[in-house]
């Protein structure tokens, strides 16, 4: 009630003594019966349910909840899952019987992706970036009815922490937007801990229920024990050349910022970068993204001032998050939402992978060589767009198939935001980046035209046969700002 607009305060009703409020009795949020909770939530046909993927391929929560939804005969669900892994193949029957009608995700791998590519999803699949997902939830483009938040630990009032409990996963950056905007928020946990649960990634004021189940996940699928730098000499050669590229840009200096993936070549770049920083006495500003032990060690050694962590990749990074105040949690929105000030916009370098790249520098990390969904943008689009220099590292051939195409199967990241490709047989620069071409010339760093490199690779391996697709569009590759940059077609069996 806005009393400031009242012209005559005598008209304002004042409570009688009998109407005065009583003391608060905190509502019991804890539920132990999944079926009962689903009923209580009033989930109806065509509801929108969301999940995060911090438990990665060890996640039991999505399967547990969705199977209960299926048992209760609810149909037409739109599944808004930040990523889907092979463990979620158990959802295939739910596509077939219409329990799940649409999927919105940023990454999908395993048999569920295969089933969708072969046309089993009755509705559509929308592939988003991590930042794009946060944007679409926060600006209301996607309205979530219930967010089920897998919680390594929660107290009875809904303070959720990713670093306490037995199935820890570290930060819960991908679940923040869901917790802020979903009509109902359920913490799903197997570790109900004493109040208050600190440090909380999501606080009690955003949580409506705490569902306690036997087990939220399989530990070995949640995080790797360690993430390893590649030992493959070709990968190492690419990593070394990537460092030369970074040096030649002139941006590799005091206060630079950096992000790389957790793939073998990307980790090797980080390892070479570390040596370079020590040798040249350079301290970086921040590193961001999914965080590995390699980066937390660099933080400990003072090579970076801070880490922005949206997702912990290994046990070492979870430990670091727990004890190092300069290891900072960030939400997917802070990470890459194009509608707000985001960390990716301050990045100097990002090192990214590619399943395919085309002569216009468009990158596909969504589908594989057989056209089947086996990935997705994750932060690819966001970091490529935000960083000063986005560098794709890839071998020229993958299982004897050339990585450079005339046109990628599905455009995940538009070539207008991709700056450099580093392969074992040459470095290509996007012609749009005349400044980089000039800088590399100055640094005597040899570059090669991407079309020439494509011709070379095809002269060695030949051209891959086109992937056979039907005419049916099964989904869309959405850009981080909400626009659509490609169709996703059904693959012919």
């Amino acid at each position: 009630m806005n009393y400031l607009s009242s012209t005559d305060l005598r008209t304002v009703k004042v409570l009688e003594q009998a109407e005065f409020p009583s003391k608060v009795n905190a509502r019991n949020k804890v539920v132990e019966d999944t079926a009962k909770l689903i009923k209580e939530l009033g989930i109806k046909d065509n509801a929108v349910l969301s999940f995060h993927h911090h438990l990665r391929n060890g996640d039991y929560v999505l399967n547990t909840i969705m199977k209960e939804v299926q048992r209760q005969g609810i149909k037409g669900i739109t599944l808004v899952a930040s990523s889907l892994f092979p463990i979620h193949a158990e959802m295939i029957p739910l596509l077939e019987d219409g329990t799940i009608e649409n999927i919105v995700t940023s990454y999908i791998s395993g048999d569920l992706g295969r089933a969708i590519s072969y046309g089993k999803l009755k509705g559509k699949i929308i592939m988003q970036s991590h930042g794009g997902r946060a944007r679409s939830i926060l600006n209301g483009e996607i309205e979530i009815d219930v967010a089920f938040i897998a919680s390594p630990s929660a107290d009875a009032h809904g303070n959720i922490s990713g670093v306490n409990g037995h199935n820890t996963c570290g930060t819960l950056g991908y679940a923040i937007a869901d917790s802020l905007k979903a009509k109902k928020v359920v913490a799903v946990t197997d570790a109900l801990v004493e109040y208050p649960n600190y440090p909380a990634d999501i606080t009690e004021d955003y949580v409506d229920y705490v569902l306690v189940i036997d087990c939220i996940g399989r530990k070995e699928g949640i995080v790797s024990g360690t993430t390893r730098v590649t030992r493959d000499p070709v990968g190492l050669k690419i990593a070394k050349d990537t460092l030369k590229v970074m040096e030649a840009t002139g941006l590799l200096k005091e206060g630079f910022s950096y992000q790389s993936g957790a793939g073998g070549i990307s980790l090797a770049v980080t390892a070479f970068l570390k040596e370079y920083m020590i040798e040249n006495n350079i301290k970086g500003s921040f590193a961001s993204g999914g965080i590995t032990g390699h980066l937390t060690q660099m933080l400990e050694e003072g090579l970076f001032s801070a880490l922005f962590d949206v997702q912990c990749f290994d046990l070492e990074s979870i430990e670091s998050l727990k004890r190092n105040p300069n290891h900072i949690r960030m939400s997917a929105s802070q990470y890459g939402n194009p509608e707000v000030s985001a960390v990716v916009d301050k990045l100097d370098f990002v090192i990214l992978g590619a399943t395919e790249i085309d002569v216009n520098f468009n990158v596909n990390v969504t589908s594989g060589a057989d056209g089947v969904l086996m990935g997705g943008s994750g932060g690819h689009q966001d970091t490529a767009a935000g960083s000063k220099v986005s560098i794709i590292v890839s071998k020229l051939f993958s299982s004897r198939i050339p990585v450079i195409k005339d046109r990628v199967d599905v455009i995940t990241t538009p070539g207008t935001t991709v700056d450099v490709l580093v392969t074992e047989r040459g470095i290509c620069v996007n012609p749009l980046r005349t400044d980089l071409i000039e800088a590399f010339k100055e640094a005597k760093l040899e570059i090669v035209d991407i079309k020439e490199l494509k011709e070379y690779s095809e002269s060695i391996m030949g051209k891959a046969k086109p992937i056979e697709k039907t005419d049916r569009i099964i989904g869309l590759s959405q850009y981080r700002d909400g626009s659509i940059i490609d169709y996703i077609y059904e693959v012919k069996r």
Partner: protein
């Protein structure tokens, strides 16, 4: 060409062959000997031929053939005689096997470079004779694993047991004006140990090192690459020699030190290794 690194690539591994030219080594030794099982010898020969003919890799390619006392020596030579390669590595080198190789190369009019792999006591003690048995030889290569086995010595990381062998190889190589190539460092993960071992070999006089792990290439190249200070000094020596020649002086001093033939030779070697050598320098020692 001074080979700082000669990297072994198994002749039966298509993936490694295909990438061999991008790994930063000054030369590649494709191996038909120890890396290839007896049952794979034919297949490896075919694969190596196909690789070299199809990919036509740039760079210096050597092939390690099987030794004379194996049934594969001549089969290997027949299979590779028409290939566009730099040269051959002769394992278990002896005066006899080198003579047999020379004879074959003469008869087939082949100008391959030859590197002799010294890996037994007899080879070591007759190293200079082996060199003299070949007009194509460009280097002596110490194979310490087999040699220590033959000597009954314990092979250690510190490599004290091969100090004599290293020095002997170096002396024979230097006497003949060819390269002295060190044995590979076999612990692929110990990069610090590799640095120490390579520096030790270089300090004794080795001019390059053979390599079994691509991850070792950069470190060894670095150890054998002259520093900028050494290059700058060598260039000043060369300029000094040129100036002295113009003035008709036999000897001259640079920065308070007399410059004579050994110093000039050392400077020229530095420039050859660093890639700063020019053809016009050939006449400076005349």
């Amino acid at each position: 060409m001074n080979y700082r690194t000669l990297l072994f690539i198994p002749g039966n591994n298509p993936g490694m062959l295909q990438s061999s030219d991008i790994l930063g080594a000054d030369g590649i030794i494709i191996d038909l000997e120890d890396a290839v099982a007896l049952t794979e010898k034919d297949a490896a020969r075919i694969l190596v031929r196909e690789y070299l003919l199809t990919f036509k890799p740039e760079g210096n390619y050597f092939i390690r053939i099987n030794p004379l006392d194996s049934p594969y020596f001549y089969d290997d030579l027949e299979a590779i005689k028409d290939l566009d390669i730099t040269g051959l590595v002769l394992p278990k080198a002896s005066v006899e096997s080198m003579a047999a190789l020379e004879d074959y190369l003469d008869k087939n009019d082949l100008d391959f470079e030859v590197i002799a792999l010294i890996e037994n006591a007899m080879g070591l003690e007759t190293a200079l004779d082996i060199v003299r048995a070949s007009k194509r030889i460009v280097g002596l290569f110490l194979g310490a694993e087999d040699l220590t086995l033959d000597l009954g010595a314990k092979r250690t990381k510190e490599s004290k047991e091969i100090e004599y062998a290293r020095s002997k190889i170096i002396a024979a190589a230097k006497a003949a004006g060819i390269q002295a190539l060190d044995t590979p460092f076999t612990d692929t993960d110990d990069l610090e140990g590799l640095k120490i071992d390579t520096r030790n070999a270089k300090d004794l006089g080795m001019t390059g090192k053979t390599v079994i792990s691509p991850r070792h290439v950069d470190i060894i190249n670095q150890v054998f690459t002259p520093t900028q200070k050494e290059i700058d000094y060598a260039l000043r020596v060369v300029e000094g020699v040129k100036g002295a020649k113009e003035k008709g002086l036999g000897a001259f001093s640079l920065e308070g030190k007399m410059i004579d033939a050994p110093i000039i030779k050392r400077a020229l070697n530095v420039l050859k290794t660093s890639g700063d050598y020019k053809e016009e320098y050939d006449e400076l020692l005349e």
